[in-house]
């Protein structure tokens, strides 16, 4: 493939970088990234990857845009309320960069379809907000051998790290299974300062680009935690756990399954104290 003059101008600030150059920009243009969830994390990831000129962005989400999403899900604008998130996302990506091929899937990511969905992609991004989905993505990427960039956000905090299956620690190496239901709240229940989604999501996009380009030191075998109240990052060194139920020496998990979805304990109006 070769770039048009317009594309050379569009990507000129990348091409100027010795670590990227024309060769790296071609790698970006040929790369396929699968983003699970077109919400708080999925928005900055998809927008920055689109701007960067990623060849194909796959987006899966079964939700429609809710007004309460607009505080952080920057892919979606006010007129999108009530519309399919993946459709809304596709339009924004096209406006930003028509070079990008956007594949949309208005569907839930399940144990039954996960392997099929991720198969064509080079890198997978976790932008989901339930523990069962986070564990499912981790397991699917391990079985498919796909690099995964994990992200999590809650209140004023965020977490991000990358997983190269078989080489670096996976989510289950650290967190064996979801917490007991009701113990750890979700964003919907506990709130989230919108900008944290942007901070963590843009780091996820950075990791995806580095994994594609094969440059720098990725966030493998280290977890990066961010606290917006202190504006402080903390890095926790991790390593593969020989007792990991998925990627350890004697795994008990040999096929995909879904942990049971926790039942929401709080309902928004009561939690907000405005009912």
């Amino acid at each position: 493939m070769s770039f048009t003059e317009e594309q050379i101008t569009r990507y000129s600030r990348h091409i100027l970088l010795p670590e990227v150059g024309g060769k790296g920009q071609k790698k970006i243009a040929q790369a396929k990234v699968f983003v699970v969830g077109a919400g708080g994390l999925g928005s900055p990831v998809a927008l920055y990857l689109a701007a960067a000129g990623i060849g194909t962005i796959g987006l899966i989400d079964s939700d429609v845009v809710d007004r309460s999403n607009l505080q952080r899900q920057v892919l979606h604008h006010t007129p999108d309320v009530g519309r399919s998130k993946v459709q809304s996302a596709k339009e924004k990506i096209f406006l930003l960069n028509p070079d990008v091929n956007v594949e949309t899937y208005e569907d839930r990511f399940t144990a039954a379809n996960a392997m099929n969905y991720i198969a064509p992609y080079d890198v997978v991004i976790d932008g989901v907000d339930t523990f069962p989905a986070k564990f499912l993505i981790n397991d699917a990427c391990y079985f498919a051998g796909k690099p995964l960039v994990h992200g999590g956000i809650l209140r004023f905090e965020g977490r991000v790290f990358s997983i190269v299956p078989g080489q670096s620690a996976c989510y289950r190496c650290i967190f064996r299974q979801p917490p007991p239901p009701g113990l750890v709240p979700s964003c919907q229940e506990a709130g989230i300062i919108g900008v944290v989604a942007g901070i963590i999501g843009t780091i996820q996009a950075t990791e995806a680009l580095k994994l594609i380009l094969g440059i720098g030191d990725t966030l493998t075998d280290r977890i990066l935690d961010f606290d917006a109240r202190k504006t402080a990052f903390r890095e926790i060194r991790i390593k593969r756990n020989p007792r990991c139920p998925l990627c350890g020496d004697h795994p008990d998990i040999t096929e995909l399954f879904e942990h049971e979805q926790e039942v929401c304990q709080l309902h928004a109006p009561e939690a907000l104290g405005i009912s």
Binding site: F131, F175, L183, V184, C187, A197
Partner: protein, 66 residues
């Protein structure tokens, strides 16, 4: 004895990882625990001793994303 918890030096009573969790009032189901960069599985929290100078990381679950 003094140990480092999440990067900060702290004075705790000698004991197991579970004892430290109790002193810090942390529900063991809420965290993954790393002792000197090794994960301590939940079934070993009560049998793994913490020594003076150890580095402990408590990693709380963070499940949001949307």
């Amino acid at each position: 004895m003094q140990i480092t918890i999440n990067g900060k030096p702290e004075e705790v009573q000698a004991g197991t990882v579970m004892d430290v969790l109790k002193q810090k009032d942390i529900d063991p189901h809420m965290v993954a625990v790393e002792l000197n960069t090794q994960i301590v599985e939940r079934d070993r929290l009560a049998t793994t001793n913490v020594q003076d100078g150890d580095k402990v990381e408590f990693l709380f679950y963070m499940g949001g994303g949307a």
